[in-house]
Amino acid sequence: MDARTAGPGAGTRRAAALAAGLLCAAALALVALAPTPAGAQVEGAAVYDRWCAGCHGVDGDGQGPAAGRMLPRPRDFTVGLYQIRSTGTGELPTDEDILRVIDEGMPGTAMPGWSEVLTRAERNALVEYLKTFSRFFASSPEPEPLDFPRAPGSSEEKLVRGREVFELIECNRCHGPAGRGDGTSSPTLENDEGHPTVAADLTEGWMFNGGGTVEDIYRRLRTGLDGTPMPSFSDLVDAEVISSEDLWSLAHYVRSLSPGERPPVREVVTARFAEEGPVPTTPDDDAWDEVERYWVPMVGQILLPPRWFNPRVDGLWVQALHDGQELAVLVTWSDPSRSPDPAWDEWATKVMEVMDHPDAGSTAGAGPGDRLTVQFPATATEGMERPFFLQGDARRPAYLWTWRSWQAGPVEAEARGLGAEQPQPADGQDVTTAAVWEAGQWRVLFSRSLTTEGEDDPPFAVGTAIPMAFQAWDGDNGEQGAQGSVSTWYFLSLQQPTPMAAYVAPVVALALAFGLLLLMVRRAQRREEGAQAPASRV
């Protein structure tokens, strides 16, 4: 319109001016929108102070108020040392590396994933801000990620080769012969800060702090976990001691030590009815291989003083069988030491030194040994009611089975509160235990008759859900008394021998359904015959 009123020359000038103006505005808008590092750092600082400083500290030194109750400690960003990277050992992480840990968290530690809580822009800003805590980021060239190909497939041969490499490059020195973190060097491991450091339990892949896929494992073999005793094995590849294929085989082997995914937590543990005869009496019996196992996650006892923020036992595998007379419960868990083991004494002392002790209690170092307690309600419970899951309460006592690595019996006890155990008299002990420690694993078997003569022994009725809870202690980790791992209530259900009626009913239903259908066909055919004779038969 302007062009028409003011003539062609003026029109083009105006259009040009307009275009130039628009371009300038767009450029300005782009500059304003694009997060300049400085702008991102300001936003990142706000996010950091709000959500991260509680553990990592306002100064980024890993000394937030929660830090003393965590092991491993929150990352100290001022030293520029990062475990989970795609870059070579000794190098800084890429922005993507930092973002990935923020997004996904570090399994097995207190670090959660933030991808659902913070926006992408906030997390990007956080990356920029974290880098300002260490002078190395500003003064170093941009870190180059190593080249990671896709994982080759696995095979029997590769797993065998992987096992060879596992021993060849001495993974077993720390991770132990079966990968449960029980190597001969384990008790002496510490990180760059001098904190006691656990060699990962390779049978719990869902707890790996850098992820549990084959690619994740391979990447860590190449990059190492800087700041921890876990080295990079890239130098062995460069020196042609092993090939990168060997490292892939090793990664596949390590992956094969854990279940396919994080085991599901199921509320009801079924004790199968052993039709074939009496229940096994030893933890080594092959019969256990056929029995379903249930994963029970364990966490530190942080309810009653003295609380415990550094539990060693992070879960139990529970199996149960009964034969109508006897109940057998087998509990299996990883424990790198057969406590009391003098080799681990120093470890416990170091753990006690490094952990905060907010409540009065023992800080003496190693406890007397390893211990496992299985709890049931001492008296029949109704509906949802059950005793307090930490060894009962004044009104509802708990009935305990306790196994100790350092002394035999008494197994059966009653408790009305944590630590207030009253062992049953020696002549009333009806539970037998059998235990094996092998390659970083305890297998402890408890057996008892379904009904006993002891009046304090609750009977185990078939076909009902009986509340059951667990507690575990690793003495060499400084655990004893109230300081150990706990679970809340689960249920034990003794499978009923399948009644004859359960087999008959489906057969009857099948026969009836078949008869009815046949009748229908016959009737339809007869009607058809009537309409247009003669016709075919079934």
């Binding site: 709000r50 959500w51 509680g54 553990c55 937030g64 108020p65 929660a66 109750r69 530690t109 207190a110 959660p112 809580v117 937590v265 509320e267 009801v268 996650p297 364990m298 966490v299 530190g300 942080i302 309810l303 009653l304 003083p305 905060d356 907010p358 949802m384 009611e385 059950r386 005793p387 307090f388 899951f389 309460d393 076909g463 009902t464 859900a465 706990v486 679970s487 809340t488 209530w489 249920f491 259900s493 499978q495 009923q496 009644p499 359960a502 009913a505 489906p506 239903a509 099948l510 359904a513 078949f514 259908l517 046949l518 229908m520 066909v521 339809a524 055919q525 058809e528 016709a535 079934v538």
Partner: protein, 265 residues
């Protein structure tokens, strides 16, 4: 769409689509509104499908022509000599299915007793806190009218990170690194159904007395929440409560709101 040219096939297709929608589709709806999802119970699926089936039967029997048309494929399978194979399959498959379903219903199986959880049990009028009687009704957070809110919040943050974080989590979403060990699961304070619905005195009661102090209808002992009166001072509890609201951006319920609602009942 030649496949869908008879009423029988149309009805079958509707039934299959309905099943897929009900069993797999419905669980996707709650997340759209920010609510956690769960699988649809089998009994509900069955009920919905029966409703759909009733509707289909009404439709196919609506006029005689369609009804005859609908019945024809069924009739054919029953009588036609060239459908002998289909007939045999039907005669075997249906009884086997019936037997299978019967087995699923009669085989002995034990499930955990249902654990209903009362998230907001009725609070008592007064509690004894560390030896002193405390009236809960009408009680406000004393720290809101005393000293610096920022300083109280700072204390609350420290208390939270040192004590509450393992279960209730860095994001206050009930997903701390110990949360997976506890059943029932720790409360999610970001959820508008939790602290946003409560007065601060209610929260004080729950923090101070924990699982062991739950009334009977709150399923006694069935919570891992510690009784924090054994570990924290009153001021520490009030500051951590301030922090919970501050950090999540929720506002506590006021006594006016609580009173107004009481009046309505």
């Amino acid at each position: 769409m030649r496949f869908l040219d008879t009423p029988f096939r149309q009805a079958l297709a509707v039934l299959v689509v309905a099943y897929v929608l009900i069993d797999f589709g419905i669980p996707y709806i709650p997340p759209l509104f920010g609510v956690d999802s769960a699988p649809v119970p089998n009994t509900v699926v069955l009920q919905y499908l029966l409703t759909v089936l009733a509707g289909l039967l009404l439709w196919v029997s609506d006029n005689d022509e369609r009804w005859t048309e609908f019945k024809r494929p069924i009739q054919e399978v029953l009588v036609r000599p060239d459908k002998r194979v289909g007939r045999a399959v039907l005669l075997v498959a249906v009884p086997v299915l019936v037997a299978f379903v019967t087995w699923g219903r009669v085989k002995p199986e034990v499930t955990a007793p249902p654990s209903f959880r009362s998230i907001h049990p009725a609070p008592p009028r007064s509690i004894t806190f560390q030896g002193e009687t405390m009236q809960l009704a009408g009680l406000e957070n004393p720290l809101r009218s005393e000293g610096s809110l920022e300083a109280h919040n700072e204390v609350g943050k420290r208390v939270y990170y040192q004590n509450c974080l393992p279960c209730h989590g860095d994001a206050l979403d009930g997903l701390g690194h110990y949360a997976h060990g506890f059943n029932p699961a720790p409360l999610n304070f970001q959820d508008v159904g939790t602290i946003a619905q409560l007065t601060e005195s209610f929260v004080f009661w729950r923090v101070a007395k924990g699982g062991p102090g739950l009334p009977r209808e709150g399923t006694p002992w069935n919570s891992a929440m510690p009784a924090w009166e054994n570990l924290l001072t009153a001021d520490e509890i009030w500051s951590v409560i301030l922090f919970l609201y501050e950090q999540t951006g929720n506002d506590p319920r006021t006594w006016e709101e609580a009173g107004a609602e009481e009046g309505e009942h």
